[in-house]
Amino acid sequence: MIKQESYIEQMIVSLRTRLLVMGASVEIAVDNMKKAVTDLNVGTAQAVIENDDDIDAMENEIDASSLALLARTQPVAKDLRFVVSVLRMVVDMERIGDECTSICSQVVLMKDGDKKQIMDYVGEHLNSATEAFRCALKLMRANNAEEALTMQHTDDEALQSEVAIIERMMRELECNDHAADHPDPVIIMHLILLVHSLTRIWRRSANIAGHIYFASLGDSLKHAPEKMKAERLHF
């Protein structure tokens, strides 16, 4: 059988290119969000907030291209799975952009906070969440289904990490009433929101890995971590 370029292949390549461009844009937002949190940099935070409209526009554009592709070529098999995955991935990427905006809004509100203390609470979670997105993007570029399956399993880890941070904050709020490094309750409130947004970035990155797996092999990993947890409890 001789492989030949077809109209549908051209449309698929064009859609994949748009998806990668959107991924790169969200990656910039994630990187800048990380810088904004690390340095409590209000300027960088505001730039992330302002650029979110561009990410939203890309989502709309990819939605329109996917619909046109479905209507005009009626894709099947791997092409259909790819388009369905793209429609799911752009939703996750757009939400990751939104979470970056939410985090940066918290950065603006915490601008006079203690950088060192903030990073002590959220630094590790920040690194893990941003690394999860970077990893999802890498898998998307390489179309690597095998590693995508491994990454899907990190969903539970994200939740556990969030719970551990919040428990620590609550503990220190209760116990260190008179200590010099007693955390400011207002900052803690902002940090809880920030940590929650980071968890969502981490989990949505795991979702993207699941979509990559589906596009490649046709098996859905939706709710797979919950299923695995239920199976563990059952046994």
Binding site: M1, I2, K3, Q4, S6, I8, E9, Q74, P75, V76, A77, K78, D79, L80, R81, L217, G218
Partner: protein
């Protein structure tokens, strides 16, 4: 699962050339099975084996076993006229007889010895209804069938096949010569008939196979490459050749 027809290692030769190689395929009762594949892959040749239409082609030899309700159709004792009553066929191009609409549908009944005009009229009406054409022709049953549109002629041919109450209906690209509206009506008829009837359809139209069939079999160069539920074939086929064909990556 209950099967209406079963083909076991069926091979077809035209002279010394093997056109179909050891195809084994089962047809679930009441289901629609689509046979797909590129031109010359053997799907129509296979379809014609199922009611021994290949008997009419000189130098054509069929090997293997084809069972209709566990009865070997290629045996000496099989009455071919009776076989073709039980396994009806609709062709690519509508081929009504140059007779009235009524007589086209009544033809098979008369050939099978039915003489009761009341019974014939009832069966003709029922067949026209099942083929979803009765409402369009009920006031002109005595007009020539040749005056009908292409889509109506094809549905009339379906009614003609249904009048003798077959168990299986073979359809060889039944909508390829029709416009989209007529095609839609044929496809609706196929879905309506499924359940009561086992339908085996050859089509080059992937979307049509996806829309109308419960099972799909992919043929390539005289071999059956893959068969599965239509949902599976069109979302996650297991063979690369199938995927290449249905996604259009096929030279």
């Amino acid at each position: 699962m209950e099967y209406c027809m079963r083909a076991k290692e069926v091979s077809v030769f035209y002279g010394g050339k093997e056109a179909l190689s050891k195809v084994s395929l089962d047809f679930p009762k009441g289901a629609v099975t689509a046979l797909i594949g590129p031109s010359g892959c053997g799907k129509s040749t296979f379809l014609r084996c199922l009611n021994r239409m290949n008997d009419l082609i000189p130098a054509c030899r069929v090997e293997g076993e084809i069972l209709l309700d566990n009865q070997e159709i290629m045996s000496q004792g099989m009455d071919v006229v009776e076989l073709r009553r039980r396994v009806g066929m609709v062709f690519q191009k509508p081929n009504p007889f140059p007779k009235s609409i009524f007589e086209n549908v009544a033809y098979g009944l008369r050939v099978n010895g039915v003489k009761d005009e009341g019974l014939i009229a009832g069966k003709v009406e029922a067949a026209l209804n099942r083929a979803a054409i009765f409402e369009e022709v009920k006031d002109r049953l005595n007009d020539s069938a040749l005056g009908l549109s292409g889509g109506q002629q094809q549905r009339l041919c379906i009614a003609r096949a249904l009048a003798v109450e077959p168990e299986v209906l073979l359809m060889d690209e039944p909508a390829s010569a029709l416009d989209p509206i007529a095609t839609q009506k044929i496809e609706e008829s196929i879905r309506e008939l499924a359940g009561d009837l086992t339908i085996i359809i050859v089509t080059h139209n992937m979307q049509q196979a996806a829309r109308v069939s419960d099972y799909t079999a992919f043929f390539y160069m005289g071999h059956l490459i893959e068969t599965d539920k239509t949902d599976t074939i069109f979302t996650r086929p297991s063979k690369k050749q199938t995927e290449d064909y249905i996604t259009g990556r096929f030279g």
